[in-house]
Amino acid sequence: MKEQQDESILKTSSLSVIFSKKQVLSGVDLAFAHRKITSVIGPSGSGKSTLLRALNRMTDFVPEVQVEGDVSFKGHSIFDDQVDAADIRRRIGMVSQNSVVFRKSIFENVAYGLRIKGSHDSGRIEHQVAESLKKVHLWDALKDRLDHDASDIGREQQQRLCMARALVLSPEVLLIDEPTGDLDSGSTNRIEVVLRELRDERTIVIVTHSLHQAARISDKTAFLHFGKLVEYRDTRRFFTNPVMKLTEDYLTGRIFGDER
């Protein structure tokens, strides 16, 4: 039983997503390993971000969307009628591609998730905000200007702030779309250090365009191509000894995506 939970805290079975009659994901079976980092790679338009959004029911807000198959979290379907979708999103946190901060102070940005959940205990909120900022190594840099506008800090710090904002809810899974997007190598490195530390406590799924990043930080790598899962295995073996021809072609730069 323990073995099973360790293997797959989050699991998709024959997951298909159709946006207004266009099939974006078809029949994806993936089991995300507990306390590991999984990278999802693939060309543009291969359905990586859609997969991420289906994992915490963000697809609920997309008009004309059809989700088939299932996603199970700790053995229960997240699409079950009795499941509170907002609760799922708190437990399976997500950080989106562009570091999007609210027009609020640094403190209020991080505290947002707690406030809307209805927490009023300000001492506890302060403590949790501080803990989250420490986890992303921002506490020392920002502790003296928590009341400053969040848009005053740099892009890379904003990205870590967004991670802290998701972490304040202590999610068991963290989904991150392009954690380092267009950041320079120094900033990328700082974020990757944080990700490696965070893995000790939770499962992390990242979508990335950078094969190097996937190779550097992830324990497992999944390759999507036109909505289909091509290959999913341990990162080291994925990069050194891919089984599928398509994977090898992608890794060696011989196929490109549907560039939209």
């Binding site: 915490n56 807000f61 008009p63 950080v95 999007v100 609210f102």
Partner: protein, 298 residues
């Protein structure tokens, strides 16, 4: 390429075109300035404290516009009170729950409303006057009252506010709303955190523009029975009312020069009210655009 550079025919054509555009602009300015001049010449001598704070009289040179001025201000406030919440809430519902809904039925309903609202926005004001007379004055027996007039103008303002508010909501980037949803927010919480702060300037300007439009309407008020001769300030919801556009109309259709001067003076009173609403919207938008640009530059 060289032909354009060395001043042969295409370049000359462009010169003529620019000249034509400038000519049109000058013509427009001339017409506008002569209107203004005419108004000032006719109305300014009449526009004194006695006129602003006086009531109607059968002697035109002793007449004042106080009841009409307060009537118009009260109408604007009441319309704001009725139309603003309804208009913005409806826009919110159609945009957030209807148009982007995953339910087919809701999307159809929202499309139907879309059509309905576009047609309602295009209805001439006299039609609203007729509907107001039938519904508010007669069927709901409010009589020729301030309330009936305000409700009539509000029904006219609502479609305008909805359409302006929807444009404001539509133009906002949805990233922040999505971020809030990812953090477990309800749809309303996410709207409040992610969309409202960005859409607010658009909502305010949209409402102000609608107010500016209905404040200057005479036709619907004539139909719901605005009084042209009033010697008191309308002080209750069901009291009779006067309004500046109606007074302007009544003074202007009369033969005497004194009445015409009163009409012009009343126009000079109405214009600042209309300009006020337009100015608020312009200033708000400028201010907000500047702030957003500064945010982006950071």
């Amino acid at each position: 390429m060289r032909r354009i550079m060395d001043g042969s025919s295409p370049n000359r054509l462009e010169k003529w075109f620019v000249l034509l555009c400038q000519g049109c602009l000058v013509l427009f300015l001339l017409i506008f300035l002569s209107f203004l001049l005419l108004l000032l010449i006719m109305g300014l001598p009449r526009l004194d404290w006695e006129f602003i704070f006086g009531f109607q009289s059968r002697f035109p040179d002793q007449s004042g516009a106080l009841s009409a001025l307060t009537g118009t201000c009260e109408l604007v406030l009441l319309v704001l009170l009725f139309a603003c919440p309804i208009g913005i809430a409806a826009a919110f519902f159609i945009q957030e729950y209807g148009e982007n809904s995953s339910s087919m039925a809701l999307r159809m309903i929202s499309r139907f409303f879309d059509l309905l609202l576009t047609s309602m926005e295009g209805l001439p004001s006299v039609v609203y006057g007729f509907l107001g007379l039938a519904l508010f004055v007669n069927i709901l027996s409010m009589g020729r009252s301030l309330l009936a007039a305000a409700l009539t103008l509000a029904s006219m303002a609502v479609p305008i506010i909805i359409s302006n508010s929807r444009n404001a909501l539509r133009s906002v980037s949805r990233e922040k709303q999505e971020t809030a949803l990812c953090l477990g927010a309800t749809k309303w919480q996410a709207f409040k955190a992610g969309v409202l702060p960005e859409a607010l300037p658009g909502l305010v300007t949209g409402t102000c523009l609608a107010m500016g439009r209905v404040a200057g309407e005479a036709a619907p008020l004539l139909m719901v029975g605005a009084f042209s001769y009033m010697t008191f300030v309308p002080d209750r919801l069901l009291s009779p009312f006067a309004a500046l556009p109606v007074d302007i109309y009544n003074w202007t259709v009369q033969a005497g020069g004194g009445e015409h001067a009163n009409g012009s003076a009343a126009i000079l009173l109405l214009i600042p009210i209309l300009v006020f609403f337009n100015a608020i919207s312009v200033i708000w938008r400028r201010h907000w655009e500047k702030q957003t640009a500064e945010d982006k530059a950071k």
